[in-house]
């Protein structure tokens, strides 16, 4: 469980980037954070991981064994220990180039082995097997020995997810994991992230309301550093205009984009249409 209460962050000139953000996410929830560019979505997510310290407020993460720690107040070793249990997937994949897919997955446990061992890639056979299992889970076991810079964007994002799974996290964060992918790959990635919510809270930042409507259990919308919506993932056009601004209404009037904005993108699988959008 992760409990964010009242976090704020301002620029030195006093402009507020985050203004009293509060929410709680439990196991079984897949939360999508929506918002226009610059609204503070990614900033919030970086705070959840401790990459950024908010000026005020607290972010309490509860472990499986019930121990709670506030990521805003801890540092160094304690922070590193906590981070080992937080999986994160980035927009730009951020894999270590020139290493194989399997090695990249193994890096997920970098924090759990000694520095000396990591210098010689000293992972045990058991860890290798587990890493391979994680790759199998995202269905790219056959690419285990391929260098990641030879992979396509969708495959790289799957390696990143496998890395997060291998970390065996208690919380999964995803920072715009779909932004570099085509619609069909985006669906594949969403289908892989969705079941992970059974085991841990999953929080993702997205730019695709049609995707969050389909796969998330809850949507949080942020505008100018404040939460303006928190609830059912299926949003009305009116709510979308609230989040993204008047420009969206004009886009709605052009036929091609109107179809996509209301979620009528249908890629490969006809069964994908089972749930109505918005």
């Amino acid at each position: 469980m992760i409990e964010v209460s009242n976090i704020s962050k301002s620029l030195p000139d006093g402009r507020k980037l985050l203004d009293g953000i509060s929410f709680t996410v439990r196991k079984g929830e897949f939360v999508g954070i929506l918002g226009a560019s610059g609204a503070g979505k990614t900033l919030t997510l970086r705070c959840l991981n401790g990459l950024l310290k908010p000026d005020s407020g607290s972010i309490v993460i509860e472990d499986q064994n019930g121990s709670k720690s506030d990521i805003c107040t801890i540092a160094r070793v304690r922070l590193r220990q906590l981070r080992r249990r937080i999986g994160i997937v980035f927009q730009g994949y951020h894999l270590v180039q020139r290493l194989t897919a399997l090695d990249n997955v193994l890096l997920g446990r970098l924090g759990q082995i000694s520095t000396l061992r990591s210098l010689f890639y000293g992972f045990t056979d058991k860890e290798r097997e587990e890493a391979f299992a994680a790759l199998e889970k995202v269905k790219i076991g056959n690419l285990a020995n391929a260098r990641v810079n030879r992979l396509s964007g969708g495959e790289m994002q799957r390696v990143a997810i496998a890395r997060a799974i291998f970390q065996n996290p208690g919380l999964l964060l995803a920072d715009e994991p779909l932004s570099n992918l085509d619609p069909s790959n985006a669906k594949i990635i969403m289908r892989m992230i969705q079941p992970l919510a059974q085991e841990m809270p999953v929080i993702g930042v997205f730019h695709q309301p049609e995707m969050t409507a389909k796969y998330c259990t809850r949507v949080i919308a942020i505008k100018k550093g404040r939460i303006i919506y928190d609830g059912d993932p299926r949003l009305t056009t009116h709510q979308l205009v609230d989040i993204y601004g008047e420009e969206l209404r004009q886009i709605e009037n052009t036929p091609v984009l109107a179809a996509s904005a209301t979620g009528a993108i249908n890629c490969t699988n006809p069964n994908d249409h089972e749930r109505d959008f918005f």
Partner: protein, 269 residues
């Protein structure tokens, strides 16, 4: 539409040729003045040309028997350059980490950059003279001076490469919960290994040439052989040493260029 007519203004003789002639005259006067101040005389130049012609004849008839004596000093030179560059690259990497703004604090970064600049300003030959005073003549002083000579240039190049890294890729390793050393190993050094190798190879080309002329000053190797033959007026032997040196430089440049092209082509990427 109006036709645009263009009549070039007619220039006077001075405006056409005068200014360039004045500049040329000025340069000549400066050269003559400098020659007069430092005691150089143009008639010596012609004597020198005559003398070097004498050597040219010997160059065309190198002492073939001396080739067998040349392999060992040549290998010494290569060895000095290779070890010097490898050790130098390793030390530069440490300095580069301290000189990168995204790793080191501001004061440390600026201090290190200043030291690197200081080193770049110091000619290798000065470093060698210092080291010869400390360690005596021989290849060890040569290796050390080449290694130290690397630091200024490679340290700055690698530090710049580190600063150009995508900050999020460092964050990504940090977010896993890795220790500081692990972040540097996998988030910083791993992505720039091709650049480091490429810089080191580039420096190696320079080091080979440098090791020849440092050899003459006391580091040993083919440079010493070249210098000795010249001072003993053994021009045939000098010509042999010169040919071996040229082969050395050509081959090392070719190998280095070949490897760098391979790296660029993505073999090591």
């Amino acid at each position: 539409m109006n036709e645009i007519s263009f009549n070039p203004p007619r220039l006077g003789l001075f405006r056409r040729y005068g200014r360039v002639s004045l500049v040329l005259l000025g340069i000549l006067a400066l050269a003559q003045g400098a020659a007069w101040v430092c005691g150089a005389r143009f008639d010596l130049l012609f004597h020198g040309i005559a003398d070097s012609m004498h050597f040219m004849v010997h160059l065309l008839t190198p002492e073939l028997n001396a080739f067998s004596d040349m392999w060992q000093p040549a290998l010494t030179s290569v060895f000095i350059a290779v070890v010097g560059t490898v050790v130098g690259t390793a030390i530069s990497l440490l300095f580069a980490l301290l000189a990168a703004s995204n790793i080191a604090p501001r004061w440390l970064r600026n201090t290190t950059r200043f030291l690197l600049g200081l080193e770049r300003a110091l000619p290798e030959i000065v470093i060698l003279l210092f080291l010869v005073a400390a360690f005596g003549l021989g290849p060890f002083a040569g290796v050390l001076s080449l290694a130290i000579g690397c630091i200024g240039m490679l340290g700055k190049l690698i530090a710049d490469a580190i600063e150009e890294l995508d900050p999020v890729s460092i964050d990504a390793i940090q977010a896993i919960g890795a220790s500081r050393v692990q972040v540097i190993l996998f988030g910083v050094i791993q992505p720039i290994i091709p650049s480091i190798i490429s810089f080191a190879l580039f420096r190696f080309e320079y080091s080979i040439r440098l090791s020849v002329y440092l050899g003459a000053v006391g580091a040993g190797g083919i440079g010493l052989e070249l210098y000795r033959s010249f001072t003993m007026l053994d021009y045939g032997r000098a010509a042999t040493a010169l040919i071996v040196t040229l082969i050395l430089v050509f081959v090392s440049e070719w190998v280095s260029g070949f490897l760098r092209k391979k790296i660029k082509g993505g073999r090591f990427q």
